[in-house]
Subunit: 333 residues, 2 copies
C-alpha cells in the first residue's frame, strides 16, 4: 500500500487536524465525537445544514463547510458511516433556533444513524428534517444500499440547500429545495482502478490491466458492467446516455454539470471528459449552464470519474451562483 | 495504460477544448499556435504576465489564466516545451502597451524557447522581461535542466506577479516582484509511483512496491534518493528539513506554504501531509500565514506530493490576498 500516511488507524484524525490547521478561519474541528463546524456558527435564526458519511471522499463533506454551504460535516472512519452521537452533537452545535436539515447519502448505515440522531435531537427540542439523496442511476440495489445510491448530486444539494438557508428560507423550504435538487439530479461513475482502504492495505477489488468498471459505487461497490477499456468518448457516451435517458433530460433543458474525479485521475483527463460530456449534451439540445470539473466526491485513490447532471431552473441557478466560502468551493467572496 | 483519453496524440487539444467549453467566461483557447488567454484581454495599460510549459501539470498553467494571475499560458505537448511561436503569439495577444513578463520554469527547452520568443517580440516592439524560477532544492542539475528545476514556486509567483500587474506596477516592478518570490521560495517533491505519458503508454520509470523517490522532478526525473517507503511524518521531516535549511527559513519568519499533490494522491493524504508540515514549521517558530493544499502543479497520474515554502513580508501577503479569478484559483470575487 503506497500512501502518504502514518498509522492506518490515525488517517482520519490526522487529516482532520490538517484541515483544522489549514482552514481555522473557516472551520473548527471537534473531536470525540468528530465533526467539522463553521467557525462563525451557529448562525442565529438560520437553518443549519449538515451532512456526513464515511471518510475517503474528500473534499466531501468537510471541505464544504462554510458560509453558503454546510454548517457542519460528520466524518466517519474511512468508508464507514459516522455514528449517531457525531450527528447529534453536530446538530446541536449548528442549531441557531430555526431547525436543522440533514443531507444524507443513501447508504443503509448513514440513513439509519442519521435517523437515530434526528430522533434524539428532536427529543431535545431541535426541529430536524432529513433528505436522502439517491441519484446514482447505475444499479437499483447495491452492496451497502437499498435503492439507488446517493453520490454526486449530494455536492450540488449541499451548495444549493446551503444557499437557500443562507438567504433565510425556513426549514421546510430548505428541505424542499434539497428534495428538488435530488429529484432533478442523476449521476453515474466508473473506475479504471480500485481504491485501497488504509486499514485493509490492499485494493478493494481486483481489476485487470485491460478492464474498467462502469457504474461503480464510491466505495468500489460493483457497478453495472465490467468491460474492456474504452475511449473517453465511448465511456462518456455510455454514462451520459444512462443519465440523460433516466430523468429524462430533454432538448431545451438547462443543467448544472459536474465532472468529478475519483481521486487518482488528473485534471487533464477530467477536462477531456468534460469536453465529451459537452459534446453529448450539445448534441441533445441540453445546455450546460454551470459546471464543476475536479475532485469533489472521491473514492480515496481510485482512478476514474463520475458525471452528474442537475436540471436547473432560474431559481436553482441563482442559488448556485450565490456566494460560498468553504475550503473546497469558493466564489463571490 | 489506464487513462480517460481518446487517442494519445489528441489528449492536449481535447483537454484544452474542455477548458474552453467549461470556462469560456474566463478564458479563450487559441489553436495553432496553442495558447490560453484571458477572455477580457488584453488589458490596456497593464503589464501582461504569461507562462507556459509542457502539458501534464494541470491546472498549471492554463488553470491560472484570469484576472489577477496570468494573461496567457502556452501549453506544450505532454512534458514537452511549448514552441517559440506559441510564446510569441501569446506575448502579442496579451500586450496592452505596458510590456509582458515571461515566467519560465527552469527547464532547458522552456528557457531557450521563451528567449527566442522574447527576442522576436522585442523586435516587434513589445518590451519583454523574463524571470526563470528555480526553487527545487532536490538536485543541482537534472535530466532536462542545468541548475535547479523550477517547480512549485511558479504557482505562487504567477499569483503574486499577476496581482502586482493588476494593481498597475510597471514591467520592471512586476518582474522584480517575481524575482523576489523566486528568491524567497524553495520546494521539494517526492513520488510513490511513476506517471505514464500517454504517447509512451507505459510508466516513465520503474519503482518497487516498497519504494519511494525523494526529490523527484515533475516529469519523473530522478530525485535525490530512492528509498524504502516511509511514514508521512518521516517524508515531511526529510523534505521540510531540506527546504528550510536551504534558504534558510528562520524562527519568526512568516511563510506562504503549498502542499501540492502530484495528480494521483487524494486530498485526505494531502491534508495529512499539511498537518505534518504545520508541525515542523511550528516547531521551528515559522508561521504559515497562508496556504494552498491541493493539486496545483501535477505530474499526470503520479502519486506523491511536493512542498513549497515562500518567505513572505506584508507586501507579498497583500498581493497574495488580492482578488483572483481563474479556473483553478478564485477568491475575493
Amino acid at each position: 500500500m503506497k500512501k502518504l500516511i502514518n498509522k492506518p488507524e490515525d488517517v482520519v484524525k490526522e487529516s482532520l487536524a490538517g484541515v483544522a490547521a489549514a482552514h481555522g478561519d473557516l472551520v473548527k474541528v471537534h473531536y470525540d465525537p468528530d465533526y467539522i463546524v463553521r467557525a462563525d456558527g451557529p448562525v442565529q435564526g438560520k437553518v443549519g445544514v449538515i451532512s456526513g458519511g464515511g471518510s475517503g471522499h474528500e473534499p466531501m463533506h468537510g471541505g464544504f463547510v462554510g458560509m453558503g454551504m454546510l454548517d457542519a460535516a460528520c466524518p466517519g472512519d474511512v468508508f464507514t458511516s459516522p455514528t449517531p452521537d457525531q450527528m447529534e452533537a453536530a446538530t446541536k452545535a449548528v442549531d441557531g433556533g430555526a431547525g436543522v436539515l440533514h443531507i444524507v447519502k443513501n447508504y443503509t448505515g448513514d440513513v439509519m444513524n442519521f435517523e437515530m440522531a434526528a430522533e434524539i435531537a428532536q427529543v431535545g427540542g431541535i426541529e430536524v428534517e432529513a433528505v436522502v439523496t439517491n441519484d446514482d442511476v447505475a444499479v437499483q440495489d447495491s452492496l451497502y444500499t437499498a435503492g439507488r445510491r446517493g453520490v454526486g448530486i449530494t455536492v450540488l444539494a449541499e451548495k444549493i440547500s446551503g444557499a437557500a438557508a443562507e438567504r433565510g428560507d425556513n426549514l421546510k423550504a430548505v428541505a424542499d429545495m434539497c428534495r428538488k435538487v435530488n429529484a432533478n439530479g442523476r449521476s453515474m461513475g466508473m473506475a479504471l482502478t480500485s481504491c485501497t482502504v488504509p486499514a485493509a492495505g490492499k485494493p478493494t477489488f481486483e481489476i485487470g490491466d485491460d478492464e474498467m468498471e462502469i457504474g461503480i459505487g464510491i466505495h468500489g461497490e460493483p457497478g453495472r458492467e465490467r468491460m474492456s477499456l474504452k475511449s473517453a468518448r465511448e465511456v462518456v457516451d455510455m454514462m451520459a446516455e444512462a443519465i440523460i435517458s433516466d430523468l429524462p433530460y430533454k432538448s431545451g433543458d438547462q443543467v448544472i454539470a459536474m465532472v468529478n474525479g475519483m481521486g487518482g485521475t488528473p485534471l487533464i483527463e477530467l477536462y477531456l471528459v468534460y469536453n465529451e460530456l459537452n459534446r453529448v449534451c450539445s448534441g441533445k439540445g441540453i445546455t450546460i449552464a454551470r459546471r464543476l470539473v475536479g475532485n469533489l466526491i472521491t473514492s480515496l485513490d481510485m482512478a476514474g470519474c463520475s458525471i452528474t447532471l442537475l436540471k436547473a431552473d432560474a431559481e436553482l441557478l441563482q442559488l448556485w451562483d450565490a456566494p460560498v466560502h468553504t475550503p473546497a468551493l469558493r466564489w463571490g467572496v
